[in-house]
């Protein structure tokens, strides 16, 4: 070992001192024994390069200072080769599928993929750039087995939601994010084009090193470094395109609306209000009014350089997206500076810094969408005088266009995320690393509402301004000592560390009325009436700290037998003194079967590896002071002849002094297979995750008063299968790949605390009615209501069957589950579905031939349901979805849709009528590109030039009637309830180019 190091050191010294005579190097590049055409060959520390010809031959003059060559070719592993004074260098490239010796970024280190005992998936940069988005999460959808990406919302600039291996908690199920070693709760600030690789840590062997925060999995992002880029490379890329809403909801037109309302009036014992409904024609389609075709654009320039001593990567990016809802937009400028420098032979220093300026125009999209869904189609958007139509008269809704118009709400976010580190070699086997990271955010919001009048319920008598300013800072100090030593065939590496993290923020905000004018230049508090001033100040973005001790040992024997033991002790300020520290251990085993002597590697199965792991991790995302009861002030009361508002204070939520983290125990078995010379790769993991002591502020009965405390109340199981299959082949000039990943998840609540059988949550927005019940034996957040047995066709049927209270012909017939002749909530409600899909699918493929490339991605989910709650929540003569047109209006007219009413039991009671299938399959992205031939780009003094056309969300197949079947509301109890307020996603078409110099 020592000899080898000395040899390398000698080599380095030799290389560094090797002189600057320019020499010529030539050779033949082959792959699989055949010559490869068009392989890019580049010398380090220089911009000179060459491309192999039809025979795989290249020739290149080696400039001064260059001592090695880089060979890159699509579908093949890149290779670096030291020149070593040779003039002929023949190279055999291996196919990319043999990237198995690639190094994978894991928690607090890197490991050879072959040596991993944990379940870790890696996505690299080229898979992240097709989808035109500012969000890395959106770009990851469908790429990784076991990782579910939910767009969350189509709000410009919105980040995606990540779920790794189901929902292992009833709490915040976001994974932990680590960017270049900095631990964060979100990665919304990252520009996907700055990302080198993303590691998705799924099992406990991989995540236990993140202890109390590892239970939901960990996403490790490594940003692009300058290391191997020679003398420097400039990349410029840009795209521009348009977005439009993926689909709109079918609602009644004006004639249909008037007809239905008339019928509802009659059904409810009032005279019909619209004479001659046909007179209204088609009327207004409010959704068409609020949506727009919106532009999107992105431009990026980056510069990377590096050598053995130092490296840096500089990038700048501008992204701008207008929203598909009028009035909303997002714009972001990001800059990144990543550097490393070897200041001594034993000491390396470096920084990774991202700077982000984001700004957006915000609209009340929830209100706008709901009003557009509900507003009566008879009223015109504007009347003949240009005033906004009064939609309050007929349907008791606001005019959504007026909501857009009388809105001035702008946000700005300034963020700096980065770290500085020093890494010192201590002797031969030890490396000490200390790293200090900081995430600093400064956020501003300014909202102005002018004086306006649309209707009695949509008006503002005094203009007003509110201003919000906040900062949050989160620092992380990590110190680790690693050890690595080989004893013959035994290899051991170890890690110990101690880290602390501290997060705090503060906001200050104020408001005033009666500004001296309505020009944007006056949108400041000082322009308002001082007697109307309000202000507020408090903590922002969390007040918490963590102190942790961590350790890991990897042992491998002859690259055949692998063992990983890791653990972390986390102390968290979020818990009371009694339960302040938790310990999270794991162990992983691996066997590279195909490395055994008995294995015939040239057989059909060229590679086989088995893995198994067990471990425990935690989740602590439950708010900061759940263990202590907080006193709310500002609960004021008026007293006295002079009517003085006197301060009051009380508790508004309960607390729980026994709070502790929830513990997830996960077992994982994995198999990795390479078939047909590793052209076909298969990776499968079966896992079982049991989370106990699940934390949740479960709703408590209102009669207890005040809000619920967070309690460790439940046990949840997730078991499933992650499957990944990939085929890659190169045939002459054609290279293609086909991949698929499938995640099967079974989610089940194993038990609820104590005597509790039911666990109701998920408000439907109708009189405190709850939509979900997380009953033991069913999925968390299962939908809970009546099954529909049909529609009462006549009075005899009403008399004959069980009814829910007073029912009439035309009403829904609820199924009497226990057959006792009455419909009762306790006995007759059943599970109607769940928002958790049984299967998540990703399919992707690529083809490249003579400069043309095509990639496609499909994503899908199956077996999840949605409560169409917006259809149930009616507080006025709202417009109806077209499904109401199939209503019962006389015996035999319908056995599924009841008589039409404005509200009442047929609408407001949760039943299978409102539960829809949320399965879908979507063409997530289709990209076609063309790369100019090398001969052309050489003449243009470019390294490469690619043009492409890309379509995102082009096609979706789903039975769901709403905008998008991906309904995410922030909690497992709440997901899948479509209240009609989620900003829809867009169908996007862009054209772009990528140039490298």
């Amino acid at each position: 070992m020592r000899q080898r190091i000395l040899f390398f050191l000698a080599l380095f010294t030799f290389l560094c001192t090797s002189v600057s005579a320019q020499t010529t190097v030539s050779g033949i590049v082959t792959g699989d024994g055949d010559p490869l055409i068009g392989v890019s060959v580049r010398a380090n520390n220089s911009s000179s390069g060459a491309v192999t010809d039809l025979d795989g031959r290249y020739e290149l003059s080696l400039p001064a200072g260059s001592d090695s060559l880089y060979f890159t070719y699509i579908g093949f592993a890149p290779r670096a080769e030291a020149v070593n004074n040779r003039s002929i260098i023949d190279i055999e490239l291996s196919e990319a599928s043999e990237l198995l010796s690639e190094v994978v970024v894991i928690g607090y280190g890197v490991q050879k993929k072959d040596d991993l005992t944990g379940s870790v998936s890696v996505v690299s940069t080229e898979d992240l750039v097709d989808v035109p988005t500012q969000s890395l999460g959106q770009a990851l959808q469908g790429k990784v087995s076991g990782l579910q990406i939910i767009p969350g919302s189509g709000t410009p600039g919105a980040d995606a939601i990540f779920r790794i291996r189901g929902v292992g908690t009833l709490n915040n199920a976001d994974p932990l994010f680590v960017v270049d070693g900095m631990i964060l709760s979100d990665i919304s600030f990252l520009n996907p084009r700055d990302v080198e690789s993303v590691s998705v840590l799924k099992d406990a062997s991989a995540t236990a090193i993140y202890g109390a925060r590892g239970a939901n999995g960990v996403i490790i992002v490594t940003t692009k470094q300058g290391a191997d880029a020679g003398a420097g490379r400039i990349s410029v890329s840009a795209y521009t395109g348009t977005q439009e809403v993926v689909k709109t909801i079918d609602v009644a037109n004006a004639t249909e609306y008037a007809t239905l309302i008339n019928e509802a009036d009659i059904n409810e014992g009032r005279p019909a209000r619209y004479a001659n409904p046909e007179q209204y024609g088609e009327g207004t389609n409010w959704q068409d009014e609020i949506f727009q075709t919106a532009p999107i654009q992105n431009i990026q320039a980056s510069f990377a350089a590096g050598n053995d001593v130092s490296s840096f990567n500089l990038s700048a990016n501008y992204f701008k997206q207008e929203g598909i809802i009028k009035g909303s937009d997002f714009e972001r400028f990001t800059a990144r500076i990543n550097t490393t420098r070897k200041v001594k032979s034993w000491l390396q220093l470096g920084t990774n810094i991202g700077l982000i300026l984001g700004s957006s125009d915000n609209v009340n999209s929830g209100g706008i969408l709901l009003n557009a869904y509900r507003a009566d189609p008879i009223t015109a958007p504007r009347d003949s005088l240009g005033n906004f139509g009064n939609t309050a008269i007929r349907g008791n809704t606001g005019n959504p266009l007026a909501t857009i118009e009388f809105n001035n709400n702008k946000s700005q976010d300034y963020r700096a995320v980065g770290n500085a580190f020093a890494s010192a070699s201590l002797g031969e086997h030890f490396t000490f690393r200390t790293s200090f990271g900081l995430d600093f955010t400064y956020a501003k919001n300014r909202a102005f509402t002018p004086v306006f009048f649309v209707s009695a319920s949509q008006q503002n008598e005094e203009n007003n301004i509110s201003v919000f300013n906040a900062y949050r800072r989160n620092w992380l100090w990590e110190n680790t000592l690693t050890y690595n030593q080989s004893f013959g065939k035994h290899n051991v590496d170890g890690l110990v560390g101690v880290t602390s993290q501290d997060n705090f923020g503060e906001f200050i905000s104020g408001g005033r009325q009666r500004l001296i004018g309505e020009d944007p230049s006056l949108f400041y508090l000082n322009a308002g009436d001082v007697t109307t001033a309000t202000n507020s100040n408090g903590t922002f973005g969390g007040n918490w700290g963590l102190l942790s001790y961590l350790g890991r040992i990897n042992y491998t024997y002859d690259s055949r037998y692998l063992l990983t033991v890791s653990g972390r002790v986390d102390g968290s300020s979020r818990f009371g003194d009694n339960n302040r520290y938790g310990f999270f251990p794991s162990v992983g085993l691996g066997w590279n079967v195909s490395q055994e002597e008995f294995w015939n590697a040239s057989g059909a199965i060229s590679r086989l590896k088995l893995r198994a792991s067990w471990g425990q991790t935690g989740n602590d995302r439950i708010g900061d002071f759940g263990y202590t009861p907080l006193v709310s002030s500002g609960v004021n009361a008026v007293f006295g002849v002079d009517e003085i508002l006197l301060p009051g204070a009380t508790l508004q939520t309960h607390s729980n002094p026994d709070l502790k983290w929830e513990t997830t125990t996960q077992t994982d078995f994995g198999i990795e297979l390479g078939l047909l010379d590793n052209r076909l790769q298969l990776e499968a993991d079966a896992y079982r995750k049991v989370t106990s002591g699940v934390l949740f502020n479960a709703p408590i009965p209102d009669y207890i008063g005040a809000g619920a405390a967070v309690r460790n109340i439940a046990e949840v199981l997730n078991r499933g299968l992650d499957l990944k299959l990939e085929w890659r082949e190169v045939r002459g000039a054609l290279s293609y790949s086909l991949g698929g990943n499938l995640s099967l998840v079974h989610n089940e609540v194993l038990k609820l605390d104590g005597e509790q059988n039911d666990f109701f949550a998920g408000g439907l927005g109708i009189g405190g009615q709850l939509g979900t019940n997380s009953r033991a034996g069913f999925a968390a957040g299962s939908f809970w209501g009546y099954e529909i047995d049909g529609v009462f066709q006549n009075q005899e049927e009403v008399d004959q069957f069980a009814t829910l209270g007073t029912q009439r012909p035309g009403d829904l017939r609820f199924k009497d589950q226990n057959g006792d002749g009455v419909i009762t909530p306790d006995e007759d409600r059943v599970v109607l579905g769940s928002a958790i899909p049984d299967a998540i699918l990703g399919l992707n493929g690529s083809v490249a031939i003579s400069g043309f490339d095509l990639t496609f991605d499909f994503t899908g989910q199956f077996g999840n349901e949605i409560i169409n709650a917006k259809k149930m929540s009616r507080f006025g003569a709202y417009n109806y979805e077209v499904s109401f047109l199939d209503r019962w209006n006389g015996e035999g007219t319908s056995d599924t849709e009841p008589r039409v009413t404005l509200a009442g039991q047929n609408i407001e009671t949760l039943s299978s009528r409102f539960v829809e299938d949320g399965s879908y399959i979507r063409l997530r992205n289709l990209t076609v590109g063309y790369t100019l031939p090398k001969a052309v780009t050489d003449r243009l003094r470019m390294q490469s030039f690619r043009l492409y056309l890309s379509g995102t969300n082009l096609w979706t197949s789903t039975d769901y009637s709403g905008y998008n079947p991906e309904i995410y509301n922030g909690s497992v109890f709440d997901n899948g309830i479509d209240r009609g307020d989620i900003y829809p996603i867009a169908k996007t078409i862009t054209a772009g180019l990528d140039i490298q110099f």
Binding site: G648, I704, F760
Partner: protein, 487 residues
Amino acid sequence: MKFLKYILSLTLFFAAVSCTEVLDRTPQGEFTLDNYFQTEDQAVQSVNAIYSQLREWQVHVFSFIGMTDIVSDDSEKGSFPSDGFFLQEVEDFEFTASNTAPASVWAGYYDGIFRANLAIERIPTVPEMDEELRERLLGEARVLRAYFYFNLVRWFGDVPMILEPFPADFAIPRTGKDAVYAQIIADLEAGASVLPTKSAYPAADLGRVTKGTAEALLAKVELTRGNYQSALDYAQSVISSNEYSLSSSYTSIFSQAGENGPGSIFEVQAAAYEIGGGGTQYNEVQGVRGTPNLGWGFNSPSDDLISAFEPGDPRREATILYVGEVLPDGSDIVIGDDNIVGERFNQKAFVVDHPGGNGNGPGNIRIYRYADLLLIAAEALNELGRSNEALPYLNQVRARARGNNPNILPDVTTTNQEELRTAILRERRVELALEQHRWFDLVRTNRAASIMQALGKPFIEGKHELFPIPQGEVDLSEGALEQNPGY
């Protein structure tokens, strides 16, 4: 040696991290219960928070009006048919356990009870404070708790009776209403024994519950229970305290100038500040829907109520605001909304303006007036067979309403118990119209079924006297809560 140096410096690093005090944190800008209830001020603030709840939407606004007036024969929902449809269901007796109205008041009243329980449990632990004030605050909290329970027990019958802020077990079954009433009476008696009279409070404390409030509530509780002697005793105690009298002008009671007038026994204090609130939505939801735009137009007086007024009774004018009428402050003429048939409004809820937004109504909510108490005394006497002693109380109320017009509202003279009962109840109806008493009076006197059915409502006797326990509550109670019959 070098190795030792490494070890030493590493240890220093590791120790430095461990010494960061990241785990020692306290909530910023707010108290925790552990460091609260240390001062007199904090004790006062904990009771103020109970009063604050009285202004809340759930306690005295939308559903409250629905479940007292709209459900009764006095008023209709108002606005247009589909607006606030759950209240239409209340009006039409088509509500189920999932209706918003019962769920809303239930949550609001129990929040108030929680705050009272917290104050009652913790104020005794405040280390140093004026002992008289301590007793007074405890008395206020108990009277308010009794008030919350009184409305709950009248709406729902048996209810979970919770007297501590942090019960060990959340699965709490309903307590029989007799026991709930016993607790209400105990709380009110405790209040009556320590609270100052209205005039004994400093002017700055106007609006707090008084000895008179407690006794007057006791009179009403006992009347509701049919304990007429006891009701009479409490009523007469209030009357003889000479703390209250009838304001000379009926109309003025409901103006802002008439707030906390001579007849005010219990009034929710509201003051609409442009900044900081202090108002209620009570005015807004009942305000004119149309022009001038003052509100939503709920709680529309019914034909039946209008016909209940005797000819010439000026209280009709004072109660009902018609389209075309000049507003009480003379500022404008009411113009109706073309889309709503038969619009009229509750004039008693009228306020001139809503500073700081329509939801911020400045009008106090009159919970208990002296006229109410006089009529309770009259009713109790009549039920006790002392009808001629009842007459002066009844006629005192009529005389005030009559004002200077000798041609209307003649004194009632009958001493026939049955006739007098009818007269007293009708007097209650018109005197207290649209002040959220009617439903409780109908149920209390067992007339809800006959009167509502006579109006064609699908009222089911034995069911609709009580509202359903909110379904969400039954669901969350882990089986502890049983539903009312028929729901």
